[in-house]
Amino acid sequence: MPMDCEGVRENIDAWALGALDADDARPLERHLAACPDCSAIADASQETASAIALAVPLRSASSSLKARLLAGAAVLGDERPHPARSRRYWPAAVAAAIAVVAGLAVWAAYMQTEVNGLRDENARVSAGATQQSEKFATASSQLVQMSSARREDLLAADAITEIVSQDDVARLTMEGTAAAPGASGRYVWSRTVQMGALVARDLPPAPEGMRYCMWLVYENDWVVGGQFDVDEDGNGRVVIRDLEIDAAETGRLKGFAVSVEPAGKVSKHTGETVLQASLD
């Protein structure tokens, strides 16, 4: 049914807020297209509605968001949108992952240089001062460990790049349980490449002798995805690949979980769950 100016002005604020039912919005929009006076009122109403957004408390986005965006924009360059593009995020995600890989590669190289330099320094100092030598040896060992960790990061970033560039990539947010209420995680996976990767945030340090363990939760069984550690900020990541799943035994995949388990080979879920997500 056509809407007259009075009807439009009665409903224009609800329309600007997006609160008008589609059946009422359509005739209103048809009227706006033909009525400059009501169209001007609609612009003012939309400006008021948009101003509401300014009232929100400001929060800082992560610094990585800016890096991802700039990398994404640089990769997109002059590219214009394709009609019916199936997914929106992948160019930026790939670019971001490439940026991460490149950054980690530089970092790993830098760390290796540091280690080498420290070893030389260690050798020189140890000739004259045993105590100093031990001190530098410890530092050197720590740097070697850090460099190794960075290499693992590099491999993880490489895997994530591969996962997010697949057409069937899926994403799921994992939430902290009562055992780790501030923790969260993001799991991405692709059946095409048969890989998944978890990036966890804000997990508490695992107790001595324990590690975090990622699980694929099936109807009849929990299958180990892999173990991982977290850094001093509680961030950790693990890549899951080459899993041999017998669907007849495990049943349907229901979700994912992270628990604290004894370091080493784990085959059964015994520890406390700290992150979980359901596919249901």
């Binding site: 300014l54 408390p57 968001l65 997109l76 160019p91």
Partner: protein, 199 residues
């Protein structure tokens, strides 16, 4: 080569540069509005990861299709907030019941968007559009609570008037009146402020 001071350029000047694929202009727009876009998305979707996805999507849309902004239709920030809100609501709806019931804390939708004691701005960001934001907050603060709630449920939760009526257990006509009166008061307060500031 001429050195461009992007930070001193107006929004519409930066958008003109985006048409010419100027990455520096894009970075300047992000520096200016990135946290605001993220914060609005966060308020709507209630999840930091998803909010970052939305913010990323919004800015890449700005980069890819800067011509969609029409200066004749209003300010850049108005358009950007509209894009952000709509994109956030789409994401929220696509996640449907799961997002509303499992991610958003209980009572989140009814929470006042205006900062309470434990929800102040990140101090490092307090200067972002401080005058405009203060004016909007003042305009909202004077609204009766029921009008403010109806407007917030529409804007941040993406509910229709009928859905708001169902949620609040109020007649549809009452909700319509609350939204209309609330928006009129807000518009009046904002226009009055613009008139008094001479802008």
């Amino acid at each position: 080569m001429e050195r461009v001071e992007y930070a001193s350029l107006r929004d519409d000047e930066l958008m003109d540069r985006l048409e010419r694929r100027d990455l520096g202009a894009f970075e300047a727009l992000y520096d200016r509005y990135g946290d605001l876009v993220y914060s609005v998305a966060l308020r709507v979707v209630g999840d930091t990861y998803v909010a970052e996805d939305v913010a990323q999507d919004v800015f890449l849309r700005v980069w890819r299709r800067p011509e969609q902004f029409d200066l004749n239709r209003g300010k850049f920030v108005t358009w950007l907030m509209s894009v952000t809100r709509n994109r956030s609501i789409d994401e929220r709806r696509s996640r449907g019941r799961r997002l509303r019931h499992e991610v958003l804390p209980s009572g989140y939708e009814e929470e006042d968007v205006l900062p309470s004691g434990n929800e102040r701005d990140d101090p490092a960001l307090a200067t972002v559009l401080s005058d405009e934001r203060a004016a909007v907050r003042q305009a909202m603060e004077v609204l009766p609570q029921e009008q403010k709630l109806a407007i917030q449920l529409a804007y941040f939760s993406g509910l229709t008037q009928q859905e708001i009526a169902n949620k609040l257990g109020q007649p549809l006509g009452t909700v319509k009146t609350r939204i209309r009166l609330g928006m009129q008061k807000m518009r009046g307060a904002l226009q009055e402020r613009r008139g008094s500031s001479g802008s």
